[in-house]
Subunit: 323 residues, 2 copies
Amino acid sequence: MVQLKTNLDLVNECDNFPYPDIPFAQCLPSESYFKFKLEGCIAALGYVLPEVAQKLSSSPEWERNNASLELTFKPSNTPSDPKEAAAHRTAVLARHLQNVREAKTFRILDGWRNELYPVYGPGRELLFSMERSASALFGIVTYGVHMTAYTRNAEGMKLWTPRRAPTKQTYPNMMDNTVAGGLSTGERPFECLVRESMEEASLPEDIVRTAHACGTMTYFYVRDERAGGEVGLCQPECQYVYDLELPESVVPQPGDDEAVDFQLLTVKEVQSAMAAGRFKPNCALLLIEFFVRHGIITAENEPDYLEIVSRLHRRLEFPMGQV
Amino acid sequence: MVQLKTNLDLVNECDNFPYPDIPFAQCLPSESYFKFKLEGCIAALGYVLPEVAQKLSSSPEWERNNASLELTFKPSNTPSDPKEAAAHRTAVLARHLQNVREAKTFRILDGWRNELYPVYGPGRELLFSMERSASALFGIVTYGVHMTAYTRNAEGMKLWTPRRAPTKQTYPNMMDNTVAGGLSTGERPFECLVRESMEEASLPEDIVRTAHACGTMTYFYVRDERAGGEVGLCQPECQYVYDLELPESVVPQPGDDEAVDFQLLTVKEVQSAMAAGRFKPNCALLLIEFFVRHGIITAENEPDYLEIVSRLHRRLEFPMGQV
């Protein structure tokens, strides 16, 4: 007999880094993490597990301070021009991470992507970029797009819901949002959405351009076994959220090896699958946000409404930026 | 020449209680406030200005601790049954506030409403209720409903926008949201919306019941001169947000003395009035939330998009509840 999850359970599975008034049993207290810093920049850019900080700080461009719990990246000979400085830091970091990868120090780098993710400073300036698969080692904020495509007729609303391929490195076989993807350095959210919609769901550009932006969803995820790689790594995330109402004649189709198929499910069917834990955790969170926005989850039917809506928009304690 | 306000300026005017990384010049640091507590309950229920704590603690059912900065309400002979306890606390507090009102200790109590607002505990239980006009003295969370009524045709979207009467105690002559109202103890959000829509805008019940819930907006407001009463009082607020698309034939009309008229304005006209500072601060915030949700404010046209969306959903540090 499976214990059904409430919507707040689903939020707690994805936004599971401690708050001042909410500890999470499976997670270290927030003050136990090393702050990931860049020399000359006052802000913490991410949180690093103590054993990860230990292993990362073996080369001279790193300084680990066990008293202040800071892991500081200090590449030498950084140019003064901001753009050149960012390129220099990116190159030094890439060499370091390539060495770490070859030494097989961290399992999470087995999922090497050859894709660069941006790291922003307090003035929202691009400080440098980092190989995507390393982002959780440093606990930096990552950015993505998530879109829900749905149909609506007299019988109600239905959502296009893919099943992840059994061969995916992360969360194989779980249910997913219609389209989702990560934002590389320099990529604009809407353009990323258009590209991913074609790649993942074979949705034509002219249709996807009718999608509308609905805000962002932010949460602070601490990785568990299902995510693969080391457990306890920090993953604060910001998702740009889009809705796309489709005519019933448009049917998403897998365009790459991400999904095995797309099912058109009623709201009830989606909610049952969420409660049964069949959705990838952050996709369940996005669906909660969608249902709140569309008046399906309301104060009248959800006792945790107030807590849930704030938790979907967590203010992250790191600088954030956008292209 | 008026300095135009950005959307982030408007957010900063309404969500202006300090964050760990954002001080606000016109506001005390958060650690300077007294915590409003109830004997036997661990959570702070609100924040109280030091001079207000001083004046409130003159009678025996109050204890002021200047070392721990706590103002604790400890009515004697509280019954053990939770409902009876709540009624007892409410009555003791009402007597105290009536005395304070008659002594003319606080200007804000000149706006006495004879309306009770709920105060919830950490288990979301109703602890007691408090006269509405006193809520900012104790800095408790207050709850309300806000609805945007709009029309949509080939030319685009227009919003129904009232102007507040020049006789209003607070924010006279400023622009407002179509319908807004506070939630008294025991009142359900949607029923409050139906009642207020008739009272304020003469909108018939059958039409208002087609409105849809879109989530909540939470922010922490520190009162300034325009709010009336003492400056620097804390007002953490939670607004239940609703959208109502109206046919062009339905025209809201003032039903009481809240508004002088309703204007049907284009998105551009509303945004210009916001930038000119013509909207009541929390109404500007609600409109920003509406424009984000409807894809009018996007990552592509708003440099502060990420900051704004989180700030519209601040997680308040006090227990919150709902009926």
